[in-house]
């Protein structure tokens, strides 16, 4: 206090003459500086001066300090929607264990803000993991079993890539109405971490090892078998998500990111990787995600090409005829999106949409297409083609492939019907 007071006094005394005429009339709260009080003009000080504009909620009793971790505008209200359809999946009955969709109708660009990333945790609340105590163990068919701390992993060369993650259950149906209900179990982030291949090479994979089993640390210990070819190709042991540590609901402190594979493979709260010689068929794999023998597609994991128009989309309302910029998202487990076509006449004609940069492999890709609504009914839809030449199927083709069964892995073309009144409805 003493030094602060004396330095201020020095400043006021020395600079008093130069500052004459400024800030006249501001009452000094500093009665212990006789020099300033008597002769010099009073200077507004940081402690007492009020800023010209005060954002609401920043000052005053009970105000939150928003400076350390910023907040969005109070006028922005996009939130996730909790899923209620998967009742028994909440085996935990834990209010913190939930499934929720991303508000993709209110998002722009391709990146999902981490707090809006969809959640599917099989009813598990995010475990409260102390990063200093967390370990990742690589064992099984390796020459040198290894245990890594988070700090160990951060010492290693990093990779950072933009990838989508889509829940295996993000499969549209006729029953659902809004875009979020139909397609909201998808998100896209920049994931930063260490290449799994680097860690596996450090451990030395033995010959004959053809799979890995990745496991999480949550109560039900979700596990997933991943083929070695994929594990060595592009899988990330991620500690970062969009520039921050991975969020607890997304697997803090470590999440496996398996680009283009179904969401279930992206094991959260990753604690163990066991190198094995066959798929281990864990609880969730066998009880929820295994395909039955009649289905042609068996263990692919790689997701098919998919796209959806996010504006105009389910339950939105167009105010009247005129110009609209059709906007949407496209993605594929098979690589980069090469082409998106849009039809506004129920599929009779298709035109190429513009793909917005960045266009990354196994990442959401934003597309847009100009459209003038002249009133009257219209059916809008989009069709994705990926770098491998795979084309998104129609609902009929999709249903035919799956033998009419409602399945996960759903990637059919999503038609939206615009009514005469401008209401947009699910037309699957």
């Amino acid at each position: 206090m003493a030094s602060k007071g004396s330095s201020r006094r020095r400043f006021l005394t020395g600079g008093g003459a130069a500052l004459a005429g400024l800030a006249v009339g501001v009452r000094s709260a500093d009665s212990q500086t006789p020099t300033a009080q008597s002769a010099s003009p009073e200077i507004p000080r940081a402690e007492t001066a009020k800023p010209a504009v005060v954002p609401p909620g920043v000052v005053g009793p009970g105000a939150k300090d928003i400076m350390p971790y910023g907040e969005r505008s109070r006028f922005v209200a996009a939130v996730r929607t909790r899923h209620t359809m998967i009742g028994n999946m909440d085996m935990h009955r834990d209010p913190n264990g939930f499934d929720a969709s991303s508000p993709i109708d209110q998002m722009v660009g391709i990146l999902t803000p981490a707090p809006l990333h969809y959640v599917s945790s099989h009813g598990n609340a995010p475990p409260d993991i102390d990063p200093a105590a967390h370990r990742l163990v690589i064992s099984g068919m390796v020459d040198r079993p290894l245990e890594f701390t988070l700090e160990d992993l951060k010492r290693l060369p990093a990779v950072s890539r933009i990838h989508y993650i889509e829940c295996i259950a993000n499969s549209p149906s006729r029953r659902e109405r809004t875009l979020e209900q139909l397609h909201g179990m998808i998100a896209c982030s920049e994931w930063t971490g260490v290449s799994l291949s680097l860690l596996l090479k450090e451990a030395g994979v033995k010959s004959g090892a053809t799979w890995i089993l990745a496991e999480g640390a949550e109560p039900t210990k979700h596990g997933n078998s991943i083929p070695m070819g994929k594990a060595m190709l592009d899988v990330i042991v991620a500690y970062g998500q969009n520039g921050e540590p991975v969020r607890p609901q997304q697997g803090y402190p470590l999440r496996l990111v398996v680009p283009g594979f179904e969401g279930k493979a992206h094991v959260k709260w990753l604690r163990r990787i066991t190198v094995v010689e066959r798929p281990y068929v864990t609880y969730w794999e066998q009880s929820h995600y295994m395909n039955t023998a009649r289905v042609k597609e068996r263990y692919f994991w790689e997701q098919g090409p998919k796209s959806v128009i996010t504006f105009p989309a389910g339950e939105q309302r167009l105010p009247g005829p005129g110009f609209y910029n059709i906007s949407g998202l496209a993605w594929s487990g098979g690589g980069a999106v090469r082409r998106v076509e849009v039809s506004t006449d129920g599929g009779r004609t298709w035109t190429d949409a513009e793909l917005l940069e960045p266009i990354r492999r196994m990442a959401l890709t934003r597309f847009q297409s100009p459209w003038t609504w002249r009133g009257g009914e219209a059916v809008l839809q989009s069709r994705c083609t990926d770098e491998a030449g795979q084309v998104q199927p129609t609902a009929a083709e999709h249903g035919n492939f799956w033998g009419g069964a409602r399945t996960p892995h759903g990637n059919p073309i999503q038609p939206w019907r615009v009514t005469n009144e401008g209401l947009v409805l699910n037309a699957l």
């Binding site: 160990d152 109560p219 066991t274 068929v281 864990t282 295994m290 790689e302």
Partner: protein
């Protein structure tokens, strides 16, 4: 001169080739970061069990023992008095066939998730594995190996997959054939490489 050179090459070149091969095959660690866990640490109490039962520990149990454990260890509190009531996922379900007929089990079964029960699981050892690793919720590690064997025997007997009095242990559990086993897609016969999906669908 020429002779000595060719002699030199004939020695050096194969030596280099052999040395390179050894270096590649050995796959030594590059960064030497991370510690070596002890054998004790690697003996995970909750390790995943292979579908064919490899990794099942010593111990045994019967349905009678399991019935008692089911009530005194709190299983009944969530799964219902006999495992058929819920509200947690139903463990004992009817023999109604066709519960794993089409699509994936995800959307099959009477009553969706609740209808599947363990009878639709393809591999019996995985019931042991899951109970051991994940049950009771938030109290994992509470049950002994014998208790888990007893619970598995109880569930298999209640689902009419084994007979009363059959003892479940590492050997017998691995031999139990689940009724829905053949309804499931077997593991893929081809190695995964990028584009597998497209190639398979294109067939």
């Amino acid at each position: 001169m020429k002779d000595s050179f060719s002699t030199l090459y004939s020695v050096i070149v194969p030596t280099l080739v052999v040395a390179c091969n050894v270096a590649v095959a050995a796959q030594g660690p590059t960064y030497k970061i991370g510690r070596t866990p002890t054998q004790q640490e690697l003996r995970f109490a909750d390790a995943a069990i292979r579908p064919d039962g490899q990794g099942l520990p010593p111990g045994s149990g019967t349905a009678e023992q399991g019935a008692l454990i089911f009530s005194v260890r709190g299983c009944a509190g969530c799964h219902g008095p006999t495992g058929a009531e819920g509200p947690a996922p139903l463990l004992v379900t009817s023999r109604d066939p066709g519960q794993a007929g089409r699509g994936t089990v995800h959307h099959e079964g009477v009553g969706g998730f609740a209808g599947r029960g363990v009878r639709n699981w393809p591999f019996a050892p995985l019931i042991w594995s899951f109970i051991n690793r994940s049950m009771p919720l938030n109290q994992q590690g509470y049950l002994t190996a014998n208790e888990v064997y007893g619970l598995v025997a109880f569930l298999l007997e209640r689902n009419e997959i084994i007979k009363k009095g059959e003892v479940m242990d590492a050997k017998s559990l691995a031999q139990v054939k689940m009724p829905g086993h053949d309804n499931y897609a077997p593991p893929p016969s081809v190695e995964w490489t990028p584009g597998l999906r497209q190639r398979e669908i294109g067939k």
